[in-house]
């Protein structure tokens, strides 16, 4: 197992390298450079573009810029300075990551808390009223965009009941209750939007597993329904579900942009959006690299979970 883990961790490096090249180059292809954005702030005043390029290190050939940037990351762990704010990219990420991580973790937990029980119930009580209701809820959650729900949740309670979600971020280390009160609703919306897919996958896999011979054997032995479903069927059915959750997590980080915007959460998604709008290349690169690393590590964690779920799987 440890050699497998080491191999996988080493394989992350070339993947990250390729991603870094793509991210570094692609944003420079977007119309409008960071110099143009700075010029906009000064209403087109005769700024010395060459001087600003020099100051920001953008006058160097692109490959030199890339090597310098990559070298700083590898040697010093330094993602560089923001091109638009007086702050380093590391500092920005340090303050934003906990917000988005909290949102994603809570969202994932809520996703699983809703999807797994409903999915299992739907499968076990196939074609019952409960199954139909569960499937309808799943379809609804897939069909209705999360940003729409977010806007509805912000708008209508304000009109009908004079209530709106909290709008000032308080870290959980300062006040857990206040922090949770701000995060619960956006996390629920995010989790709910993915619960439909997770529920349907759970239901499908459970139905497949419940038809297998060893389950029939378990029934024949006189085991209770709970034992058959929870002990014997669910673990095998969960393998693709775990894969799915692993795939959904990066999507949640990206999808957090709109949720963070609407619920006023100072997270990574909003920072990425604003940095892209401001053509803050270093910040965007740093964020993308971080998200890529999260995706790769999440996939690794998912793969390792298989060994736990299915004892037949052994990593060498």
């Amino acid at each position: 197992m440890s050699s497998y883990l080491t191999r996988r961790l080493l394989l992350i490096l070339p993947t990250l390298l390729i991603i870094s090249i793509i991210v570094f180059l692609s944003q420079r292809l977007i119309p409008g450079s960071v110099i143009d954005m700075i010029a906009t702030e000064y209403m087109g005043s005769k700024i010395d573009r060459n001087e600003i390029e020099d100051e920001l290190g953008l006058n160097l050939p692109i490959q030199v810029q890339y090597i310098k940037w990559l070298g700083n990351i590898v040697i010093h762990g330094d993602l560089g300075n923001s091109l638009r704010r007086n702050v380093t990219v590391n500092e920005q990420l340090k303050s934003k990551i906990p917000v988005t991580l909290e949102l994603v973790i809570l969202g994932t937990l809520i996703n699983l808390l809703i999807a797994l029980p409903i999915g299992v119930y739907s499968a076990v009580r196939q074609n019952s009223w409960g199954d139909y209701v569960g499937r309808s809820i799943a379809i609804l959650s897939i069909a209705v965009p999360s940003f729409w729900i977010a806007l509805i949740v912000v708008t209508y309670p304000a009109i009908w009941w004079g209530w709106s979600p909290p709008m000032q971020y308080i870290p959980f280390t300062e006040n857990l209750a206040a922090n949770l009160s701000q995060f619960l609703i956006p996390s629920f919306i995010m989790g709910m939007s993915l619960a439909g897919i997770t529920m349907r996958m759970t239901r499908t896999m459970m139905l497949e597993v419940l038809r297998l011979d060893y389950i029939r054997t378990a029934w024949s032995k006189g085991l209770t329904e709970r034992m058959v479903v929870m002990r014997h069927a669910l673990r095998n059915a969960l393998i693709p579900v775990v894969t799915l959750v692993g795939v959904l997590v990066p999507g949640m980080i990206g999808g957090a942009v709109i949720i963070e915007q609407i619920f006023v959460l100072p997270g990574l998604g909003r920072l990425a959006f604003e940095s892209l709008n401001n053509r803050d290349y270093t910040t965007v690169s740093g964020i993308n690299l971080f998200i890529a690393m999260i995706v790769l590590l999440t996939n690794l964690a998912v793969d390792l979970t298989y060994a736990f779920l299915d004892p037949r799987i052994k990593y060498k």
Partner: protein, 596 residues
Amino acid sequence: MKKKFIWLALSCLMVTTMVLTSCAKQTTTTSTTTPQTTVTQTPATQTTATQTTDESTPQPQYGGTLKLPLPSFPTHFDPYQGAAANLTIQSLWAENMVQGNWAADRSSNPDLFKIRDVSKDNAKGALAESWETPDLSTLILHIRHGVYFQNKSPMTTAREMTAKDVEYTLHRLLGLGSGFTEASPATGGLPLTLVTSVTATDQWTVTVKYKPSALLVTYLANSSCDAVIPREAVEATGGPDDWRNAVGTGPFTLTDYVSDSSMTFVKNQNYWAYDEMYPNNKLPYVDGVTILLIPDKTTMLAAIRTKKIDETSLGETMPLSYADAQSVVKTNPELVLFSRPTTAGGLLMPVQQKPFDDIRVRMALQMALDVPTINKTYYSGQAAEYPSPLVSDAMTDFAVPFDQWPKELQDEYTYNPDGARKLLAEAGYPNGFNTTIDTSSEFDTDLAQIMKGYFKDIGVTVDVNVSDAATYSANMWSYQFKGLFWAYWMGLDVDPIQCFNFYRGGIPWNLGQVNDPTFNDYCDQLETIVDETEFFNLSKEMNLYGIGQHWVVTLNSTRTFGFKQPWIGGFNGEKYLGNMRLGAIIARTWIDPNLK
């Protein structure tokens, strides 16, 4: 079994706790407010900002914390860096030499201080207590005594501001001394570039030498980058761009900054100013200000409805349309509505390039638009009846209202599709031509579609390209557009030179790349005139000339709207007490606890 019950019970308890916590009422006060009898809730009614001190008028109260929204936070804290987003907030802790006189008579102009109109007549000293102009190229500023920098790091003591601090600030800003040789890029194109030297002649006097100008004091009242910050802040670790070093003489001290979330200010107990309308009242009234980052308009509307913020549309930010305002008035009649004039939007075009180089084509495009009908239908009657190109009608010193234009010129701005087609035919486009309208997602893209429809009637086929704000700005400032493109900020400046610079050859803001020798000569001449009457007379003449050249296809000037809570006093939608002096307005705003 027992284990399972315990597990289940714990899970339920956890979930219940989380749900109850999230649904808990917030500690901000909700109130059954007594509606103030201030204004009617019909957006068409302008609020009058007349302040009286009789018993029927609410009196200022001390205390409370204002909560205000902003869609984006400043990227810098150093006035040297300029830029609107930064300067709006900076005015809370740092101040300028001259600002608007809050007590100026507003009976003839209810929109006073809602646009950039601090002219010499309604300016008063801020950090400069008074001034003299012994000649039209010299300004002597008498620095106010008893003004102290805030007691905040990097200041070791809250020392008194002197002429040396003013000299240092202007030297740094303009590259005129104290070790500074390069001017801030934020000053480019602004009147501060007329300054040739700044000298502190004694502890309380600063002599500023300018190139001769008729609007010397007006420039100072409306400058934005010259907020005085101490040398200690510039030389501190991290520099003045670190929020921890943001120190000035302003009414509030920045005490906390949560990146992209909130900024907290507390009252500067040592602040020097008194309310001009209530001369015995020391400012500021409120104990503190919390600025919340609310980038989304829906969220901002929810916040004002649920009393999480005290006013909307802070400064330049997130103005509400008439439709937005109507929806809020219906659901929350207790909120107090205010409105502000805004500049006309319009389409610029590269006038050096075909087909726009022909004035007949430009005229035809204008005649294709039925501006009064757009006002009645699209703006529900809230906009001006007629277009106001070049200079907004609110600039009363040098704007020329439509009804005072020569008849011939009025006809060129009156809806006449047949006349437009005839002009196009004369210009060599009997079948019209194809072009584009470039606009940004942050502008009103529906208007572009409306104009597309009108242009189609005269044979001009238009593709509307909508790009994101960043791409649009980048393309605009690098003159990439080959067709028509949207612009909206023109003509709303108290200085005619700033308005006309949009059409003056060689100026970066001249996005339409106009290069009219007659107009350029006018601009050069205007800069040399030192007599104020003559200055504004020539400005009017230039205005009419420019209108006749049709460099911009113009729509109506409109109004934008905002709301405040009924307990907010002293504020009626003002946003300029001089350029970007929001802090001064907030200092004169109070909270009535009886209404909260």
